[in-house]
Amino acid sequence: MTFSLRGKVLDIDLTAGKAREITIPEADYRAFLGGSGVAAKWFYDTGKMQCSPLAPEAPLFVMTGLLTGVNVPTACKASFCGRSPATGIWSESTVGGRWPSALRSCGFDGMIISGCSAEPVYLYLCEDKVELREAGYLWGKDVYATQEAIGEEVEDENLRVAAIGPAGERQVLIAGIIIDGHDARAAGRGGMGAVMGSKRLKAIAVSKGKKTPKPYDPDALARARREAVPRIREKTRGLTDYGTAGGVPVVEKLGDLPIRNWTGGSWTEGAARTSGQAIMENVGVGHYACYRCPIRCGKEVQVTKGPYAGTEAHGPEYETAAGFGAHLLNDDLHTIVSANDLCNRLGLDTMSTASVIAFAMELYEHGLIRAEDAGGLELNWGNGEAILVLVEQIGNREGIGEILSQGVRRAAAHFGPPAAEFAVETKGLEYAFHDPRAFTSMALVYATGNRGACHLEGLTYFSENRAFPPELMGLEPEYDPHGFQGKPLLAKTMQDYMGTFNALGLCKFLIRGHVTPGEVSDWVKACTGWAMDAPELLTAGERIFNLKRLINTGLGISRKDDMLPPRLLVHDRVEGAAGGSLPHLGKMLWEYYRLRGWSPEGIPTAERLEQLGLPNR
């Protein structure tokens, strides 16, 4: 191989308690890059897509990106992939921090985990070695306590741990996997924590090794870094100072914030009170960065409320601040900080958790849930005490949390037809907190997202508002945020580009630093020696996107599922900068399918699959 890429992946059978090494061919890396791209390829090839997500035979893919650990800006990510128990379709949950690069430094690019252990276990990896260790004493512990206990057992101060909390153990369908303990980063979305829990796998702990791949052309890579890093730093200063939550007031002003379960159009004072600036001024204690990241958007805060008041923790990111703030009409930042910390300890996805609480509060407002259904809790909008109790009940599947822990779609089915009006999800995944009525290209991104209503698969609000100028992708420079012209091409182009990031192990905030496909392909070239240019990179992104679609169409997905919920499709808002705007999804979708080379039913055509070198079966 050109790059010191080893392609070594562990194939772990927890039922038998055995692991063997397999090698991913270089051709798979070239076509699918790595990370969630290679995971999708192997998932498709196993033919195990139909396995029930929580059945022992269902595989969980944990893959680092092609560049993870190498000295490339933000090359820090790994993806947890497989079939989601929440949505029943393809899921990938990507996380940074320091655990993924540590895993790669052990000489492994990833692992495929299947089976189910008879007793709780954790995996311990160090250079070229893997052990299954008894985890009965960890079962029931929260994520931070798990990290500390394993650290003591292994006697490695720098141990890196990816763990589930009580929520994953109890197979809560919105449970995530949290890494790096107090400096938490989350593979939150899609319920992959429940998949780990179903296998009785409490954690994957890694001691840093020395086997990170070496770049093919270190001088070229150093030159590229010198050119990119100052620009990235300069353009992302707001993220460095206040984290992603610094954007809350701007997002609000543009009508892009979810307010009161997506019904409100403006919340200016609340947004100021729950912004990254307010959080840092009131409870901020420091900053931290993922491995190899010049942006440093991580924030450390003091918890001042709830059962862990007085401790220090990871600060809420934009999605969490918006979810536990505006979405619930809660303007108390201390409640947001505490809810974030509780979610991290319990191992819950903050986005889906906040969404299902917003849904419950709206049901309460309309009398579809009464206080007696919620153990006496008054689920009024903005009731901080109730929010914190609900987070714990969801994580522990207690009281009304038993129903809410299954996510919005299942909870709506439980409460009966009127509740569907208040359920904001696509393909079973709760929405990310950028409104498709504010930047209508996001309607396409959410409707066609391979894991459901995910913003990260396209991030086109950055393009529409010129945080990532679209002309850098060869697109029109200006878009009417509420119109539909040009949006299908914008959505497709950005989806193809963003698909390469989870495969390469890069952070998508690089686009805030105006990092282009030409620049990324230069990094890939310097690392691997492959003569990869921007068109080849974007074709790989398109191939990956289509392969995930193919997995999903095999699971019954088609145009009928590429849909927005009524609240976002046909209910406009009165107030705010996006008042009166509705996304023209139907008009955009036809053109989008045409550009993708999909049939009017949303199925990739044989011709397009052949062009992309994908199987047609």
């Binding site: 200063r237 707001g238 993220l239 992603t244 939550a245 610094g246 954007g247 809350v248 007031p249 701007v250 997002v251 002003k253 543009l254 892009d256 403006s266 958007c297 990111e317 934009y318 999605e319 918006a322 907190f433 950028h434 930047f439 609000y461 950055f462 508002n465 010129r466 945080a467 100028p469 945020p481 905030f509 805030r512 107030e575 705010g576 900068a577 008042g579």
Partner: protein
């Protein structure tokens, strides 16, 4: 002459005029001044990406401003 009420967000606060408090305050303009002219008065260079929201509606740079307009000047959208 006309006066508009301006609020500068995040990094754009560095363009605050002496009459502003915390990036917020009145700005005097000539009768024919548009949103683009306001940016010039504030000293925001054309290369600095920003969006204007006037009286809660996203505005084009050619919008003729009126006395008493509330103008938010936003850097490109952030969030995660």
């Amino acid at each position: 002459m006309k006066t508009v009420q301006v609020k500068l967000y995040l990094n754009l606060r560095k363009y605050a005029t002496p009459g502003m408090d915390n990036g917020q305050g009145p700005v005097s303009l000539k009768a024919g001044h548009t949103a683009k002219d306001l940016l010039a008065v504030l000293g925001i260079p054309p290369g600095e990406e920003c969006t204007l929201v006037v009286n809660s509606r996203i505005a084009g740079k050619d919008l003729l401003l009126k006395d008493g307009d509330q103008v938010a000047v936003l850097p490109p959208v952030s969030g995660g």
